[in-house]
């Protein structure tokens, strides 16, 4: 693990700060982030409800997450662990989402394709940070200093609601996409690809095939 670069960012991050981030850099965040996943995207982008609060109140970091948390009877919050959910499923809403939210950092699990980064992220000067593990839910939970608000909890339920969080040294995350739209995961996949043919030596495709199946093991399933 020696050799990994570590960067601490104060939020909101500037375009210049994001431009300086290289793939595989370890990042910690301090400032405001908010959660949002399919329920939020569907409501905000597809159903046209817009954002649940003013951009200044939400910050510019969208975390693909729903926390293990409870709202107590007195309205206070018990925040347990927080981890990301897989992001590739949300690509279809992101263009509208970036326009609506003004976000420049998306945090999630597993990233998206470089084609999506170039099409959706680069035009909005945004990058993707991946959570580590997955997930370091307890470490991330420690980084949350305050639950500022929980929005759309009636409409979407606790797991899909928008949790607005103030965080200090929140992380670790890894830079998965840079400002040019390159993907760390795809870089790693390419390095692993060379080994795959040898693994399969002596095997042949299953007797009963499946529709729509690829037999190219360098492909991804996302």
């Amino acid at each position: 693990m020696a050799g990994l670069k570590i960067v601490e960012l104060q939020l909101p991050a500037t375009t210049e700060q994001l431009r300086a981030l290289e793939l595989g850099t370890v990042v910690y965040l301090t400032g405001r982030v908010f959660t949002g996943r399919e329920g939020v995207y569907k409501r905000a982008v597809e159903e046209g409800h817009g954002m649940p609060a003013a951009p200044e109140a939400l910050g510019r970091v969208n975390f693909h997450c729903s926390p293990a948390a409870t709202i107590e009877a007195d309205g206070s919050f018990t925040m347990g662990a927080v981890s990301a959910t897989a992001s590739f499923r949300f690509a279809k809403w992101l263009d509208g989402w970036f326009k609506l939210s003004g976000c420049n950092i998306i945090i999630g699990k597993g990233g998206m394709t470089s084609a999506d980064y170039r099409k959706l992220f680069v035009p909005h000067d945004a990058i993707y940070l991946t959570t580590v593990g997955y997930g370091t839910g307890a470490l991330l939970g420690r980084g949350i200093t305050k639950v500022v608000d929980v929005l759309w909890k009636e409409e979407l339920g606790l797991a899909q609601a928008v949790w607005v969080l103030d965080v200090v040294r929140f992380g670790p995350f890894l830079v998965e996409s840079d400002m040019a739209g390159n993907s760390l995961f795809e870089r790693e996949n390419a390095k692993i690809a060379g080994n795959i043919a040898a693994l399969y030596e002596g095997t042949r495709p299953a007797t009963l095939r499946r529709y729509g199946e690829t037999d190219d093991k360098t492909d991804e399933v996302i």
Binding site: A81, I196, T203
Partner: protein, 319 residues
């Protein structure tokens, strides 16, 4: 008679333990990965996870924010009787699930598949699942809770006898490579393989092999045990480590369970129990004693019995 109050309290404690405490056998397996892992990113990930387990225990908070889908495995000793009977046991397990979701807290993951209704307590139609097994002896009940993540790392395929062991290797690699990229399976994982059975039993056996056997355990059939070792090694030779980064930490262990199947087929399922392998077990005795452990001791010679009769019962009858 086993007290239903003690059973419910024990179930609530198990819910918290599963969510917060990484089982020792998984932890030991992961530490062995650290010693051999050479990929710098994969090493960093595992190191962060080790710190995360400590943070979870210190803070008594869940290891991972996705606290999986809680479910129960109940094993009755043949002489066990619980106050209120099996219906009271199911009620207690549902209450424990709902209470613990609030008190730990866990993420309320369970929703209606179509209407996405969320009761915010991890209970609903057929949720939590409760599976049963029996032991020929004993007046105790074993409760095991497993909170497995729900989205990636499992697959099923109908193979045929002609596909052979090579077909098994191939489908195993397909599943690990497909779900290992980008770390969708949250590896390194305990990989469970179900071979045979009817289609549904094939899925159940594979899932139980990954979630209910501890790292280092081996199938009693020596040839199947050897295949477990071989597939474990094969998985770690893919070149993929934690999060799909270059490395060797893919499989903490590989467990295979087999069941007799249709003469024409060889169905196979693959399941991956993740970096937060959440499981916890307790044995509750009639005298009120409760003993907690991390090994579910689910599979037994009795459960894997092959003949018509269970010899133990015949011996008892003869006496």
């Amino acid at each position: 008679m086993i007290s239903i109050d003690i059973l419910q309290r024990t179930a609530e404690t198990l819910m918290a333990k599963a969510a917060i405490e990484i089982p020792d056998d998984y932890l030991a397996g992961l530490r062995r990965c650290v010693d051999t892992e050479t990929g710098d990113l994969s090493s960093f990930v595992i190191q962060a996870m080790l710190e995360n387990y400590e943070a979870a225990k210190e803070d008594r908070r869940a290891m991972c924010g996705d606290t999986g889908v809680p479910r129960w495995y109940v094993k009755y000793g043949n002489e066990a009787r619980v106050e209120g009977g099996p219906v009271a046991v199911e009620a207690a397990l549902r209450r424990a699930t709902a209470h613990a979701t609030h008190s730990v807290p866990l993420r309320p993951n369970r929703v209606h598949p179509l209407w996405r209704t969320d009761h915010n307590n991890n209970c609903g139609i057929f949720a939590p699942e409760i599976d049963y097994a029996f032991d020929p002896e004993g007046d105790w009940v074993d409760l095991t809770t497993v909170h497995k993540g729900g989205l990636f790392g499992s697959d099923y395929r109908m193979l045929f006898p002609g596909d052979g062991i090579e077909g098994i290797r191939r489908f195993y690699l397909d599943t690990l490579i497909g779900f290992g990229k980008r770390g969708l399976a949250c590896q390194p994982a305990i990989v469970g393989i179900g071979l045979g059975g009817s289609k549904d039993a094939c899925m159940v056996l594979g899932k139980q092999a990954s979630c209910l056997r501890v790292v280092g355990s081996r199938h009693p059939d020596p040839k199947i045990a050897a295949l477990e070792e071989e597939l474990k090694e094969l998985g770690n030779k893919i070149g993929m480590g934690a999060m799909g980064f270059i490395g060797t930490s893919m499989v903490i262990d590989c467990h295979i369970e087999v069941g007799y199947c249709h003469t024409g087929g060889m169905p196979m399922s693959v399941h991956m129990f993740c970096l937060s392998s959440r499981r916890a077990t307790a044995r509750i005795y009639a005298d009120g004693q409760v003993k907690f452990r991390t090994d579910p001791e689910w599979f037994s010679d009795y459960m894997r019995r092959t003949g018509v009769e269970w010899p133990g019962l015949q011996t008892q009858a003869a006496e």
